[in-house]
């Protein structure tokens, strides 16, 4: 089944390019460390999911590119055609002349309705190119105007027009120390609306990825390309084909469906995070060897201590001793040391993957009480290696890890809202104070729900 990617705004389009490039590189340019037959099946599965083929054999990304001003889409198309490995369809782009001005209200209330028909038509055309559609991967930032506002609008329309298809939003969390002055407003409006219409929000945090680039990859002058490539790697390691229950050569048919089923058991809890290890620069890879035991130990500790990178992990954090009753509600402003999970998925790729022991992840102490660990934890093992990594482990989790960052954003937005600063820019386009209050309420509810796990 196919996944249709909708790239929105500058961020969405820049990241989208890197994602398709990473998927292509992995499928067609990596050793795979497996049999030829397996590799071919992998490539075929990847192609079905992410690329369509033109008559002359050219691979075309299954994507719709949307932006309210032309510069980024032009750049993106140019990059793809210059690299010459795969391309975007010229007809799958929707562009306007003037951007959304970092204004969520403008993206949602003006651009949305105005361009709904054209954009949805474009999406429909791309959907028809797929034999069967698993769902949509919508890439957008929260901080700007188009990705956030228009992205939210389009997600809602997708829900109306394709009720049977799943939607996973790739939501890019901005740097804490300001990229856009009104980023907190745009963020809370985005998150609150998406919570109602999306099936899962996979959060990608600029600050976290930046640290990975800095500390793990040793990149000195980090550009957005670097950041986007790390993000693409994480997403690729999640989306690339994995064996289904039938074993080798049989790759899972419904990637999004399987992900959702495992990770989002309850509609109140939709925030997902992804961590993929090892994280290191390619030059260091040649000198490193990994064991599954080592990787999994790190990954497990990263999960429970809420570490985002494979360095500076706090090894003192331990799961609560099982058997002790939970002492009422955990107050939210207390430092959440232990990260409780609702559900976890570990994806392992590479050599001797069958020997990997995942016992550590099945510990009931890691999870809330309402799902048995057998249901809360899943593992997908695939012999075919990912990219240049002989062994790689990816963790996709639905856990408390986002509570603190979300709380921070809501707090800052609330503070600004109390002073009424910038509100006139939103009311100008039909987003009133009540809409803000609705958003705050919804998100406080989400924070509270996650806190009380």
């Amino acid at each position: 089944m196919s996944i249709l990617t909708v790239q929105l705004g500058q961020c969405g389009n820049q990241i989208g390019f890197e994602v398709f490039d990473a998927l292509f590189s992995d499928s067609y340019c990596s050793p795979g460390l497996c049999s030829k037959k397996e590799n071919e099946a992998y490539q075929a599965s990847c192609k079905e999911r992410f690329f369509s083929e033109e008559g002359n054999g050219d691979l075309v990304a299954r994507a719709v590119l949307v932006d309210m001003e032309p510069k980024v889409i032009n750049q993106t198309l140019l990059k793809a055609s210059q690299a010459g490995r795969w391309k975007y369809s010229q007809h799958a782009c929707f562009c306007q002349k003037q951007g959304s001005g970092n204004n969520w209200a403008y993206g949602y209330s003006v651009h949305g309705p105005r361009h709904e028909e054209s954009i949805m038509n474009l999406i429909q055309k791309e959907v028809e190119k797929c034999d069967s559609l698993s769902g949509f991967s919508i890439i957008m930032s929260m901080a700007g105007g188009t990705g956030s506002g228009l992205g939210t609008f389009i997600t809602q329309k997708l829900q109306d027009q394709f009720p049977k298809s799943l939607k996973m939003n790739q939501v890019v969390w901005p740097y804490g120390t300001g990229e856009v002055v009104v980023q907190n407003y745009n963020s809370i409006l985005t998150l609150s609306h998406l919570y109602r219409s999306s099936d899962a929000l996979l959060v990608h945090d600029n600050d976290a990825i930046h640290k990975i680039c800095e500390k793990r990859m040793n990149i000195r002058q980090i550009s957005f390309s670097d950041i986007n490539q790390v993000l693409a790697h994480q997403l690729g390691s999640m989306f690339q084909p994995t064996y289904s229950a039938e074993g080798s050569f049989h790759y899972r048919r419904s990637p999004l469906g399987d992900l959702m089923e495992i990770l989002v058991p309850h509609p109140e809890f939709k925030m997902l995070g992804v961590r993929s290890i090892p994280q290191m620069s390619e030059s260091s890879l040649a000198y490193s060897t990994f064991t599954w035991a080592g990787l999994l130990k790190h990954l497990r500790q990263m999960l429970i201590s809420n570490a985002k990178m494979e360095e500076g992990i706090n090894w003192h954090v331990r799961p609560p001793v099982s058997g002790l009753p939970t002492l009422g509600k955990t107050p939210c402003n207390k430092e959440l040391h232990f990260n409780t999970s609702i559900a976890n998925l570990v994806i392992l790729r590479g050599k001797d993957v069958q020997s990997a022991d995942l016992g550590g992840f099945k510990d009931p102490a890691l999870y809330t009480s309402w799902l048995a660990p057998a249901d809360a934890f899943n593992a997908w093992k695939t012999q075919r290696a990912f990219n240049k990594y002989e062994k790689s482990a990816t963790l996709v989790s639905n856990s408390q890890f986002l509570v603190k960052p979300l709380d921070l954003i809501v707090g800052k937005a609330w503070n600004m809202f109390a002073s009424k600063a910038y509100i006139h820019q939103y009311t100008k386009f039909g987003i009133e104070e009540e809409d803000f209050l609705d958003s705050f309420s919804l998100l406080e509810q989400v924070i509270s729900s996650y806190c009380n796990l």
Partner: protein, 475 residues
């Protein structure tokens, strides 16, 4: 991509405008080597086939034939505009897009605003509509004028109301040259205060400039150039004051160096909208991010670097120095002290070979020494444009919405009061039809209210940041 129209009013406005168009051509020539008319150039220029009879039909693609500035030139005396139309830039201006008169406004805001305003309203509308029609998607009007005179100040601000009524969705960015205390026009305080009211009410965003700051920047550069010690030679094209490589070969007028600085400000302001980069910033984002309340739309600008050293033996100044300089008073285009006042928001618009990590590192580094208002502690807006300005490998324009602007306004008000108390020269204004003392008192009230807004924000400076109670959820 969108287009912008520049409306240059009065002597000062037109002289700055002239420098702007010259440097804009220079910049586009440096970037666009193949002579193709692309979207970046189209933001400020039309492509016209001069062989065609009549208007000179606009060509939207293909090779550059003849570039015409998207500009409207307005002056109530002919000298400056005539000189421009006879100078090396004569082909760049559309000779029909200008409005001139002979007598001038006599440094009298009332004459500029009331007399010439009503007299030329239709003609002004006609020219503006024409330039708007020639745009595919008009986003912004840039108005350039001075505050202290009669035409730029009076007619320039009259224009704002016309623009607001006729093109309500198009942004109005105003570059205003404020009179310094040694200004030789005696009535400049009157003109400025009367103009301020219009700026308060009808401008989306104002970039105040004062001559003294521009002059100080020139002095600083002169010191470096003349010192020439240790082989420190400056790349001529890189000087923020220079016209090298542009059509006007050498400085013809004493103000050219100063005007080039302002021209560079406008180029840097629009660079991320015209050229590609990893984090674009369009003009509508400036207003959105830097104007928290409609009246507080005055931005302090600072430009760096002012020059680039040519000597390869001297190591390039560290990138971080550029960021420090942007927050130093030496680089500001208006006398103000943002570091000791309160930031409401700050934009950093970077050009050239700079990446996101450089930006983040410097924000972290400089943040502790800057005070941001309690509800906007992380009030930064950042942009990265890949194309550097001519003669540099990178540059930075900082736009700060900071309470320090109020000092300029307070001084202006004081100068006004000194004059007004004695009713000096008042009759020149009151004898103009439509003018009465009420106009003055209204203008002063408007300014006082604005100053009061800044004062109220300043009062929050030393208060501890309050943790406001959040919404509680019933479980």
């Amino acid at each position: 991509m969108t287009q912008s129209v520049v409306v240059q009013v009065g002597q000062c406005g037109n002289q700055i405008g002239c420098c702007f168009w010259d440097l804009a051509l220079r910049e586009h020539a440096a970037v666009n080597q193949r002579g193709i008319y692309d979207e970046a150039i189209s933001s400020f220029f039309r492509n016209v086939d001069t062989r065609a009879v009549g208007d000179g039909g606009s060509i939207s693609k293909g090779r550059i034939c003849s570039l015409k500035a998207r500009a409207v030139l307005i002056d109530m005396e002919e000298g400056v505009v005539n000189e421009m139309l006879q100078g090396p830039l004569r082909d760049v201006f559309d000779s029909k897009q200008l409005i001139t008169d002979i007598s001038g406004s006599g440094n009298n805001w009332a004459v500029g605003h009331k007399v010439f305003g009503s007299q030329y309203q239709e003609k002004i509308l006609e020219k503006l509509r024409k330039s708007a029609e020639q745009c595919d998607c008009l986003q912004c009007f840039f108005i350039i004028h001075s505050m202290g005179g009669g035409t730029g100040s009076g007619l320039g601000t009259f224009l704002l109301k016309v623009l607001e009524d006729e093109f309500p969705e198009v942004y109005r960015f105003v570059t205003s040259v404020y009179p310094s205390s040694e200004d030789d026009v005696i009535t400049s305080p009157y003109n400025s205060i009367l103009a301020m009211k219009e700026l308060n009410e009808h401008a989306d965003c104002v970039l105040p400039i004062d001559n003294q700051s521009l002059f100080d920047i020139i002095s600083k550069i002169d010191t470096v150039v003349k010192s020439g010690k240790l082989g420190k030679t400056v790349k001529p094209k890189s000087l923020v004051t220079s016209s090298v490589g542009a059509s006007r070969k050498r400085h013809q007028k004493p103000f050219d160096a100063m005007n080039n600085i302002v021209a560079n400000l406008l180029l840097n302001l629009t660079s991320s909208a015209r050229f590609e980069g990893s984090l674009n910033m369009d003009l509508n984002e400036i207003s959105m991010n830097l104007v928290p309340f409609p009246q507080l739309h005055y931005l302090v600008s600072s430009l760096t670097p002012l020059y680039t050293l040519a000597d390869v033996n001297v190591p390039p100044r560290r990138l971080d120095q550029m960021f420090s300089d942007a927050f130093s008073k030496d680089h500001q285009l208006i006398r103000a002290d943002p570091k000791h006042n309160l930031y409401l928001a700050c934009a950093l618009m970077v050009r050239g070979d700079v990446q996101i990590s450089d930006l983040r590192r410097n924000i972290e580094r400089l943040k502790p020494s800057l005070q941001f208002v309690s509800w906007n502690q992380e009030g930064w807006k950042t942009s990265l444009c890949s194309v550097p300005p001519v003669g540099h490998s990178h540059s930075l324009l900082a736009l700060a919405n900071n309470t320090c602007v109020k000092t300029t306004f307070v001084e202006l008000k004081e100068r006004f009061t000194r004059l007004y108390k004695k009713k000096a020269h008042l009759h020149h204004y009151l004898q103009v039809e439509g003018m009465e003392e009420g106009c003055f008192s209204e203008a002063v009230s408007s300014l006082s209210a604005l100053i009061q807004e800044y004062n109220q924000l300043d009062a929050t400076k030393s208060m501890p940041v309050q943790e406001l109670p959040r919404l509680r959820i019933a479980v």
